[in-house]
């Protein structure tokens, strides 16, 4: 197919700015959603450090608990908490888009896919909390 490039060589080509994701709210939301992965990685690192402290013995574990009380770590964890919540909510809300489940000749509505995700989220969170808080 002869593109118009051959006929009209003077087309103006735009280039995307490096800061394109600041330009529109949906783009900013997207980049924040993607950046939540960094905080997921941070959580894993913290968990691994905790397991390491745990296996070294009570003294190391105490020291690690002390480190967790450091204001910088607390601040980082507050930010991380909001990002992982953002990840969870966007993940559950987007899941129905990727899953075209059909029943009775119709596509299952999005709420019926996202809903069980949220219910499972609450149930699992409660189970984890119970396991850690039962004393």
């Amino acid at each position: 197919m002869p593109g118009s490039a051959q006929v009209l060589p003077k087309m103006y080509r735009t280039r995307m700015s490096t800061y394109w994701w600041l330009g529109r709210w949906p783009y900013l939301k997207f980049i924040l959603r993607e950046l939540s992965s960094v905080f997921v990685a941070w959580f894993v690192i913290m968990t691994l450090l905790q397991i390491d402290a745990l296996r070294r013995g009570p003294a190391d574990y105490m020291e690690f608990q002390e480190w967790l009380r450091n204001p910088v770590v607390i601040a980082l964890n507050i930010i991380s908490f909001f990002f992982v919540i953002f990840h969870a909510v966007t993940w559950f809300n987007l899941a129905p888009k990727a899953m075209a489940i059909r029943a009775g000749g119709k596509r299952v509505p999005a709420v019926l896919i996202a809903g069980p995700n949220y219910i499972a989220w609450v149930a699992i969170s409660a189970a984890v909390a119970w396991l850690l808080l039962r004393g």
Binding site: E34, V44, T47, D52, Q65, I78, A88, W121, V128, L132
Partner: protein, 117 residues
Amino acid sequence: MSKRSNEPFLWLLFSAGGVVAAMLIPIQLFLFGLAFPLGWLDGPGYQSLLELVRHPLTRLYLFALCTLSLFHFAHRFRYTLYDGLQIKHLNELINTFCYGGAILGTAVTAYLLWIIP
């Protein structure tokens, strides 16, 4: 099918990690990162936590949580670097950093969970 790529495999790990991270990380981050250190709630003591982590099922749980979350991170962060900073030409370096990091993290996780007394 011609020219099989490994993208489906990476996407599978990304998705599995996304589900695991969404379901499990918020509550654990809240408890261990905020509620226990700030004294809002009383966390488990050293002995009971060690007992819990020692259990084979907990080890399996922690292994799945950590490794899948890391591969989720690797995949997402790779594309964030591609798109957000327009540095796709550093492809190899980014892939090595992201997936290499996830593989390294998997090895560390396995090692730590293995040597718990």
